[in-house]
C-alpha cells in the first residue's frame, strides 16, 4: 500500500486498478452457500465480511485453522519456564537466603508465580499475536471502496472475489454472484 503511493508520485495519475467484485447476501446460510459455490467454481482469492461471526464460514472459504493457539502455547511455556527459572536463579545463585529453614530450592513457593507468568505471557501472545496475524495496524483497505460496505459492521453479509484471482473475469464473477442470490453486486477499485 505504501509502495503504491510512491508509484503514484512518480508516474502520471492513472485510474486505480480493480480490487474485486463485492456481493452482498441476506443472511448466514446464504453467504455460506455462496462461499461454497464460489470456491467450487474454482476461485481461490475469496474473502467474506460479516457483522457477526458466522460458524462454518471459515470452512466454506477454505481458511486454514489459525496458528494462534501455537503462539499462545509458546507464550505460556516461555512465561512459566522463564519465571520458574528466574526464581530458581535468584534463590540459588544470586541471593540465597534462609527463609524459615527451608531449602533454597523450595519449588512449591515458586508455583503461584510460575502459574501467573504462564497466564500473563500466554495473554500477551494471544493479544499481540492476533494483532500480528491480522496485519494490524492497517490504516487503509480497498474493500471500503465498495458501495454500501459500511453495513458490514451493521447488518450486512459481504463476499468479495478479488481481481488478483487467476480466474477473475468481471462479467463471469458478477453473473455467478447474482445467480447465487446476491442482493447487490459491485466491482470496485483499489
Amino acid at each position: 500500500m505504501f509502495k503504491r503511493k510512491s508509484n503514484a508520485a512518480e508516474a502520471a495519475p492513472t485510474a486505480p486498478a480493480t480490487y474485486g467484485m463485492m456481493a452482498e447476501f441476506s443472511g448466514t446460510d446464504e453467504i455460506i452457500a455462496a462461499a461454497e459455490s464460489v470456491r467450487a467454481a474454482g476461485y481461490t482469492l475469496v474473502e467474506a465480511y460479516t457483522h457477526i461471526p458466522v460458524h462454518g464460514l471459515d470452512d466454506a472459504l477454505g481458511h486454514k485453522p489459525t496458528r494462534l493457539p501455537w503462539l499462545v502455547l509458546a507464550g505460556g511455556i516461555t512465561g512459566a519456564s522463564g519465571l520458574f527459572g528466574f526464581m530458581t536463579w535468584v534463590n540459588l545463585v544470586d541471593y540465597p537466603m534462609n527463609i524459615g529453614g527451608r531449602p533454597n530450592f523450595s519449588w512449591p513457593a515458586f508455583v503461584p508465580i510460575t502459574f501467573e507468568g504462564m497466564v500473563l505471557f500466554s495473554a500477551f501472545a494471544a493479544v499481540f499475536g492476533l494483532i500480528l496475524i491480522c496485519g494490524f495496524p492497517l490504516p487503509y483497505h480497498p474493500v471500503f471502496n465498495a458501495p454500501g460496505f459500511e453495513r458490514a459492521s451493521l447488518n450486512g453479509f459481504f463476499l468479495c472475489i478479488e481481481a488478483k484471482d487467476p480466474q477473475y473475469d468481471a462479467a463471469k464473477a458478477s453473473s455467478l454472484l447474482t445467480k447465487l442470490g446476491a442482493t447487490a453486486v459491485h466491482e470496485f477499485s483499489e
Partner: protein, 408 residues
C-alpha cells in the same frame, strides 16, 4: 429408534446380570477376608470402595442439578445418565451399614487412648463421637434421598406431561435443583469431613471436601464421555452426539482437571508454608514410605498428562481420543481416592491388599447393576425436555459444516 432401544435394553440387562453376579461374588470374597485377614483390613478396603462409588453418585448429583439450572444442550446429553446414577444414593445408605458397624475400628477418635494422648483430638470429642457421627450420617442420607427422589418424580412427571408444559417443568426442576445443589455442597462438605477427613482426627483442612468434590465432578464428566462413546459405538442412542456438545464435555473435563489441581495444590502450598505441627503430618505421611511416588504420579497423571492432552481443540472434538483420555482420568481418580484414604491407616508403606480389589469390584458391580436398573426405566432422551428442539436443530445442521457428525 424402537429397535435400537430394544437392542440397548437387551445388552444393558445382560451387563446388569453380570455386574450383579460379579459384584455379589466379589463382596462375598471380601467378607471371607475377615476370616483370612482381619476385620480392620476389610473395613479399610471397603471404606475406600464405598467412598469412590459414593463419590460417583455425588458427582452426578452435582451435575444433574447444575444442568437443570444452566439449561445447556450439553446437559441434555448426560441428564438421564446422571439421574440414574443419583438414584443409587439411597442404596448407598445401605452400603454405609458396614462402616457404621465398624466405626470403632476405622476411626481412631473412638479410641480412648488416642483421646487421652492428643489434646487436639480430645477437644473435638463433642463433635467426633459415635452417636453424633451416626446421627449426622442419617441426616445426610435422609436429605439426599429426599432430593434425589423429588428430582426423579419431577422428571417422570415432565415425561408424562404434554409438550406444551415442558418449560414449566424445566422451571420446577430448576427450583428443586438450586437449593438442592446448595444443600448437596453443604452435605458433602460435612460428609467428607466425617467419613474421610476424620480418619486423621488431629488434622483439618477446609479445602479437603472441595478438592474431593471437584474430583467427583471430573470423574463424572469422564465416565459419561466414556458411556456416551460406548452407546454411540453400539448405536444405542439413535442419534449422534453433535461434535460441539462433545467439545463442551471435553472443555468441562479440562476445566475441572485444572480446578482439581488448583484446589489440591493450594491446600498443599498453604500447609507447606504454614509449617504447623497439626497440619503437616497429613502431607508428611503422603511424602514418605513410598506414598511420595503416588503423590508424584498424581501430579503428573492427574494434572500434566490430561492437561496437555486436553489443551488441544482437536483431541476434545475426537470422540475416540477424548474417551480414552476419560478412561485414564477415571483410573487416576481411583488412585486419588486411594491416596486420600489409605495413608491414614498405613504411614510406613504403600499397602495394597487383595480386599481392596474385591471390595472395589464388589461395590462397583452392584453400583453398575443398580445404575443400569434405573437407566433402563426411562428413555435416555427425555421426550419433553425443552432442549429437544435445539438438539434436533443441531443434528440437522450437518449440511453447512456447523457441527459435523462426530467421528468415531
Amino acid at each position: 429408534m424402537a429397535e435400537q432401544t430394544d437392542n440397548m435394553h437387551q445388552t444393558l440387562s445382560a451387563i446388569q446380570r453380570r455386574a450383579t453376579i460379579v459384584g455379589g461374588a466379589a463382596l462375598a470374597l471380601t467378607v471371607v477376608g475377615i476370616a483370612v485377614s482381619s476385620t480392620s483390613q476389610v473395613l479399610q478396603s471397603y471404606l475406600f470402595a464405598f467412598l469412590f462409588f459414593f463419590g460417583v453418585s455425588a458427582g452426578s448429583f452435582f451435575l444433574l442439578t447444575l444442568q437443570h439450572l444452566t439449561s445447556g444442550v450439553w446437559g441434555l446429553m448426560i441428564r438421564r445418565f446422571t439421574e440414574a446414577s443419583t438414584l443409587v444414593i439411597p442404596w448407598m445408605g445401605l452400603f454405609f451399614l458396614p462402616i457404621a458397624a465398624g466405626v470403632g475400628v476405622l476411626y481412631e477418635w473412638t479410641h480412648p487412648e488416642v483421646i487421652a494422648e492428643e489434646a487436639v483430638v480430645a477437644a473435638k470429642v463433642p463433635y467426633l463421637n459415635v452417636p453424633f457421627f451416626l446421627a449426622r450420617t442419617v441426616i445426610y442420607f435422609v436429605v439426599w434421598i429426599w432430593l434425589v427422589r423429588r428430582l426423579r418424580r419431577q422428571s417422570i412427571a415432565q415425561d408424562n406431561a404434554p409438550k406444551s408444559e415442558s418449560i414449566s417443568w424445566r422451571d420446577k426442576l430448576a427450583v428443586t435443583s438450586g437449593p438442592g445443589l446448595a444443600a448437596h455442597i453443604m452435605l458433602w462438605t460435612l460428609a467428607a469431613t466425617d467419613w474421610g477427613m476424620s480418619l486423621e482426627p488431629a488434622w483439618a483442612s477446609s479445602m479437603y471436601p472441595v478438592g474431593w468434590m471437584v474430583g467427583q465432578v471430573l470423574t463424572n464428566f469422564a465416565i459419561w464421555i466414556i458411556v456416551l462413546w460406548l452407546f454411540t459405538r453400539n448405536n444405542f442412542l439413535g442419534y449422534d452426539i453433535p461434535v460441539d456438545r462433545l467439545h463442551d464435555l471435553g472443555k468441562f473435563t479440562f476445566a475441572f482437571t485444572v480446578l482439581w489441581t488448583y484446589l489440591n495444590f493450594s491446600q498443599y502450598l498453604i500447609i507447606w508454608s504454614g509449617n504447623v505441627p497439626e497440619f503437616t503430618p497429613w502431607y508428611y505421611y503422603r511424602s514418605n514410605g513410598g506414598w511420595q511416588y503416588v503423590s508424584i504420579a498424581l501430579i503428573f497423571g492427574h494434572f500434566f498428562l490430561p492437561f496437555f492432552l486436553l489443551l488441544s481443540r482437536h483431541t476434545k472434538r475426537n470422540f475416540g481420543v477424548v474417551a480414552r483420555i476419560a478412561m485414564w482420568i477415571v483410573a487416576i481418580e481411583v488412585l486419588y481416592v486411594f491416596w486420600l484414604i489409605n495413608p491414614a491407616f498405613h504411614h510406613d508403606a504403600i499397602q495394597m491388599h487383595w480386599t481392596h480389589v474385591t471390595a472395589f469390584v464388589g461395590v462397583g458391580g452392584l453400583w453398575i447393576s443398580l445404575f443400569l436398573r434405573y437407566l433402563k426405566q426411562l428413555p435416555i432422551l427425555p421426550p419433553n425436555d425443552h432442549r429437544i428442539p435445539e438438539l434436533e436443530a443441531q443434528l440437522n445442521d450437518h449440511g453447512h459444516g456447523h457441527s459435523a457428525p462426530v467421528s468415531h
